[in-house]
Amino acid sequence: MSPPTSQGSPFDLVAAGTGRARESSATVEAPAAVPPGNPSVTALRERFPDGVLRNAVNAGDEDVVYIDSAHVVELLRWLHDAPDQQYDHLADVTAVDYGGGKPLEVVYQLWSIPHRRALRVKCELPLDGLEIESVTGIWAGANWLEREVFDLFGVDFAGHPDLRRILMPDNYAEGHPLRKDFPLRGRFSRAEQTRRALTQDPEDYYVPGEIGERVPQVIGADAEGDEGGDDVD
């Protein structure tokens, strides 16, 4: 590589590892530099001084709260129930693996329909203890979202009613694909993957309640008697 000259391109600075990029990241790193735009952040910090670890503002106006994983249900329950918060819509539960042994983050994207506010709650889990309390008791819609995080990242949600794979096949034995230590093409050979794929039965993906049992719809029938044409034998 040729040494950077005074009229070199800005890429030379990046390649050399010095320059403005590093300076600017150092200035933004201070968490208190940007005040939170969402009043829920300060309310949450006052109410749970132990549960909230830190907060940050992303992309100008997106408030992020980092909370302790031991208090996740307590905090999110309060965010859901408190009249000033009312985060009644759980938009997403997902996770981020930054690789390099860094803790894995479970992310809750909340939206308050009455107050029209968005809040992102993050929870850091060490890679050797990927376990967190399930929030299906607060938002029923968290059921499949947490199954997806379990499937792709291997996070164990304690108290989840039906924690099994949702995207990958039931007999998938190669691990959790979105983890950074997962090789892009999987762990098995292509021949073994094809063979395993064809041994599965697609009807096994469903639990008996989802297919098979059909409740006949009765229109205009009263409770007792009158089992004429609606009975399916």
Binding site: E29, G99, P169, E174, P183, L184, G186, R190, A191, L198
Partner: protein, 217 residues
């Protein structure tokens, strides 16, 4: 005319009658190819465009899309097939009646395309036998029509004399991969776009510079 060897005279050459019969049967078959659409991705949009009025697939004998595999003649697999969908594709192929043909439409169905990843079938010919591969990402409707006409050309060359040999099916092979291990290995050799696939996972040492402070906060 023996049942085991229909239409073959003692010398082994087809007789006049069967060549004429072949012509009539092949004419009927190739001009009434009903497709079974197996559209999973953007190729299916082009397949719909081919069937719509501007390109009008029905001109060539693909009168309608047959959404029942039992009434279909040619399976058009349009789009990427993940491993979870592989048994479904295989089951649909097994449900189709003989004679049947298969078209692999687009790069993903033919080779996995850009999806050289853990979840994607690297070419549906590891699962079902394919007659015609159509390249493109996605192919234009003209491409699909040309591929179907290539199937028609293939039918033109078929003969009832070797029908049993051409169309033989092993019932025990239903649901088994069509390609053996070596063939799959050849298909998914060290090509593709992700030969450096292990770089991100850290399993392979590279000289790529990765610094955590370069990441935006």
């Amino acid at each position: 005319m023996g049942v085991d060897n229909p239409g073959m005279s003692g010398s082994g050459s087809p007789t006049f009658l069967t060549t004429r019969l072949d012509f009539v049967v092949n004419w009927a078959r190739r001009n009434s190819l009903w497709p079974m659409p197996f559209g999973t991705a953007c190729c299916a949009i082009e397949m719909m465009a081919s069937a719509a009025s501007n390109f009008d697939l029905a001109r060539f004998g693909m009168e309608r899309m047959s959404f029942s595999p039992r009434q279909a003649d040619v399976l058009i697999c349009a789009g990427r097939v993940p491993y979870k969908l592989a048994p479904v594709l295989r089951r649909i192929w097994d449900q189709m009646m003989q004679p049947k043909w298969c078209i692999s439409m687009g790069a993903c169905a033919s080779s996995g395309g850009v999806f050289d990843v853990y979840s994607m079938v690297q070419g549906i010919d590891t699962i079902v036998p394919v007659d015609v591969y159509i390249p493109g990402c996605p192919p234009r409707p003209e491409g699909l029509i040309y591929g179907l006409m290539m199937v028609q050309e293939k039918i033109r060359g078929e003969s009832l004399a070797n029908h049993a040999e051409l169309r033989a099916e092993d019932p025990l092979a239903a649901g088994r991969p069509r390609a053996d291990d070596g063939e799959v290995f050849d298909l998914t050799g060290p090509f593709g776009n992700s030969t450096h696939q292990n770089r991100v996972s850290g399993l392979v040492e590279t000289d790529a510079v990765s610094r955590s402070e370069d990441r935006l906060p």
